[in-house]
């Protein structure tokens, strides 16, 4: 979804930033959004407050609210996927083989484990 939407929108993005905090994702507000997600998932009130200030300054309140909502939604969807053992289909794996390899995502796949 990330590489597809950035390609269609002709917005360059460095997808490696998703798993490597030292890399700038390049897209507008990208660093602020990543710091915001990090703070929220770490549940650090101090870091959340600091990240909110930056996201507000760069993307406005609508951007901040949407970012919070997207994080919340994926907190749910990650649980649903993990809790039901949702497999990634063979076709999807083939299509995204480069990305899976680049980001080392295979380490997260536990659907075939007992």
């Amino acid at each position: 979804m990330l590489s597809w939407s950035s390609k269609i929108n002709q917005i360059p993005i460095n997808v490696r930033a998703i798993t490597d905090s030292s890399i700038d994702p390049v897209i507008p507000g990208g660093v602020a959004l990543l710091r915001f997600v990090d703070a929220v998932l770490a549940r650090s009130a101090v870091d959340i407050s600091a990240a909110v200030t930056v996201v507000m300054a760069e993307l406005g309140q609508a951007g901040l609210v949407d970012a919070a909502a997207v994080i919340g939604n994926f907190q749910m969807m990650n649980r649903v996927a993990d809790g039901t053992g949702m497999p990634v289909g063979a076709g999807s794996r083939r299509r995204h083989a480069d990305l899976i390899d680049q980001l080392g995502l295979d380490r997260f796949d536990h659907t075939d484990e007992a």
């Binding site: 929108n9 993005i13 997600v37 406005g60 609210v65 970012a67 919070a68 749910m76 809790g83 659907t111």
Partner: protein
């Protein structure tokens, strides 16, 4: 701490949060309203690193807590052990839906510096018993309708699957909107995907 009045939340999103909260309190297919709220409270306690504190059966307490704090640790064998201990697939799927939405809403509030929304009072009544007769075992760990797919993940309990879809739209995108790479709300689509991808990476979710 911020208050809800200080933050402008889109009307469709505000309504979604309100409706979801009311839904948690109503009887589901397998659990009463009081039991669904006990599941939500147990998930919240686990996230706050508090000890278990409900009257839920042991397997339900265990499932609520693990799914709330460490879903990546779930395994097929773990789900099978819960089922063997008396938490049937249907009850598990409904519990998963409740925990997922509780964590989603709590995360949203916390991200905006808002205090957690108090859990509502339970709505009296018996569980409906509505379970899909079309659900079949597949590649996932629980039976689903029409094959294994994320949009059908909770389809063993139709009301839970429908609630997940209703919740998903205002929080992110509807399943139909997801096929539009140019859609934008408060964020552009690539910005939404950066947030979604980082969240999934930190949760160690491969899917």
């Amino acid at each position: 701490m911020t208050t809800e009045e200080e933050i402008s939340i889109r009307p469709d999103l505000a309504e979604n949060l309100q409706r979801t909260w009311a839904n948690l309190a109503r009887p589901g297919a397998k659990w009463t309203g009081a039991q669904r709220l006990a599941i939500a409270a147990e998930a919240r306690r686990a996230r706050d690193r508090a000890l278990p504190g409900s009257d839920l059966p042991g397997p339900a307490t265990e499932a609520s807590r693990l799914l709330a704090v460490n879903p990546a640790a779930a395994r097929r064998s773990w789900v099978e052990a819960l089922v063997a201990a008396g938490l049937d697939h249907e009850s598990y799927v409904e519990l998963l839906g409740v925990v997922g939405r509780l964590v989603a809403v709590d995360t949203f509030y916390e991200a905006l510096g808002l205090p957690p929304r108090p859990l509502p009072a339970p709505v009296a009544g018996e569980p409906s018993g509505e379970i899909s007769a079309q659900a079949r075992p597949g590649r996932g760990w629980v039976p689903m309708v029409g094959g294994t797919s994320i949009t059908q993940a909770l389809s063993l309990i139709p009301s839970e699957n429908a609630e997940l879809a209703r919740f998903h739209g205002p929080m992110y995108l509807t399943f139909e909107e997801m096929s539009d790479p140019t859609i934008a709300k408060g964020l552009t689509r690539p910005q939404m995907e950066v947030v979604a991808s980082r969240t999934s990476a930190l949760n160690e979710c491969f899917y």
